[in-house]
């Protein structure tokens, strides 16, 4: 993925090379960010790729309008997040995704050592989907950024304290939802 930004230099003959170089540099800072944000919402790699590409294309088209270039990452995250949510809402993919996850878990049940991990992953996904959107965004970004509160605050444009309290609430709700499965299988 790091080669992605490098590959752009020869992809298009730009009439404003400095602007394009800056876009490449910004994109090289966060090559997988849009994809991971989309994956956190969609849980489907193919759909996440589509959304990430669309987000990056929009960023490319509108890069000249972005006044504060330091906020490129936050801009890309918001775009990818919105596009992923739109995709779910428009096509009603939530039900299909859950159904697919259920089928996956049934298939995984055939292999004993994979069952617990699959089940837990499914439960985490379900609990994460049940969170309010503002908590879900913070929790997803925190997972991507290694639970760095200040980084999440930069990406969301929220104060550090707000991010911290939302992150706590999200983790608390998830812990309440998943406690039973951890108790049932502590050695997972």
């Amino acid at each position: 993925m790091d080669a992605l930004a490098a590959s752009f230099s020869g992809s298009a003959v730009s009439q404003d090379a400095s602007l394009e170089r800056e876009f490449e540099r910004r994109l090289a800072d966060c090559p997988t960010l849009a994809y991971r944000v989309a994956l956190g919402v969609l849980r489907n790699p193919a759909e996440a790729e589509d959304v990430a590409q669309e987000a990056m294309l929009r960023a490319y088209r509108n890069f000249h309008r972005l006044r504060d270039r330091e906020r490129f990452r936050a801009w890309l995250v918001r775009t990818a997040w919105r596009l992923a949510l739109d995709r779910i809402r428009a096509a009603g993919r939530r039900e299909r995704r859950e159904h697919a996850a259920f089928l996956d878990s049934q298939r995984a049940a055939e292999i004993e050592n994979v069952t617990a991990a699959r089940e837990f992953e499914r439960q985490v996904a379900r609990a994460l989907d049940a969170l309010p959107e503002k908590l879900r965004l913070v929790m997803t970004l925190a997972a991507i950024e290694g639970y760095n509160t200040s980084e999440v605050a930069k990406l969301t444009g929220l104060p550090d304290g707000t991010v911290k309290s939302r992150l706590f609430l999200a983790r608390k709700k998830l812990a309440e939802s998943l406690e039973w499965i951890v108790k049932r299988n502590p050695s997972r």
């Binding site: 993925m1 080669a3 992605l4 590959s7 752009f8 992809s11 298009a12 003959v13 730009s14 009439q15 404003d16 602007l19 394009e20 876009f23 997988t32 994809y35 991971r36 944000v37 994956l39 956190g40 849980r43 790699p45 996440a48 790729e49 990430a52 590409q53 990056m56 294309l57 490319y60 088209r61 890069f63 000249h64 837990f120 992953e121 439960q123 985490v124 996904a125 994460l128 929790m139 997803t140 925190a142 997972a143 991507i144 639970y147 911290k164 309290s165 706590f168 983790r171 608390k172 998830l174 812990a175 998943l178 406690e179 951890v182 502590p186 997972r188």
Partner: protein
Amino acid sequence: MDCQKKSEQMTARINDFALGELSPKRELESLAHVAECEACREAYDHAKAVGSEVDLGVEALVAGEPSAQFMTRLRARIAAEPAPKRWSWDAWRIWEQASRQPLSYAVGAVVLAALLIAVITGLPRRRVSTPTVTEAVQTTSPSPNAATAFLKATTIPDHSRKEVVSRAVPSSRIRREPEVLVPKGELLAVVQFYEAVHSRPVDSEQLYAAQQEPQKPLELKPIEITPLEPLETPVADSDKGPSLF
């Protein structure tokens, strides 16, 4: 901290502590308590473990790399896109096109300017003008010609007239609608009074004496009541109106 009596509160606090929500001061207190109390330490360890499992589970959901085709597809799509542009370059492009087709752009500019002027001039605007002395008098007089002629003919000194003008025509106080200051037919009397006051000094003693002069009391005449004459013909019953009984 008595965790035996307040077990629910303590559990909640331990959970918050494990998930990293407590303030530094309370964190220290909780840490000290957890070190002493075995039951709370177990609760803390359990909450911490659940929190870690949750974090790992969410991390697993967002972990992953896009496929190799992702880069190829994105490269192709970006190559098909026009290059990002600065706005100044767009402005220069418009100017360049205008220089190639000067006539059409000039006609467009003229039409736009005409529309703009029409819109600006068509807007309702409040007209404020400074009226002259004559206009001021006209607004207060029912017959303007007679009033102006009268004002010209009066013997009001120049300095007094200037004063009248300056008092009568404050541009900020003039209203557009006519305002009647002098009752109809009394303009002559007002001007005469004005002239009399300004032409000779007023004797204050005279005025005071006139005010102090005792007025005659009102005379009340007695009212004479003439008795009515009796009717010659009796009134019929039907003419008396409806009977109540």
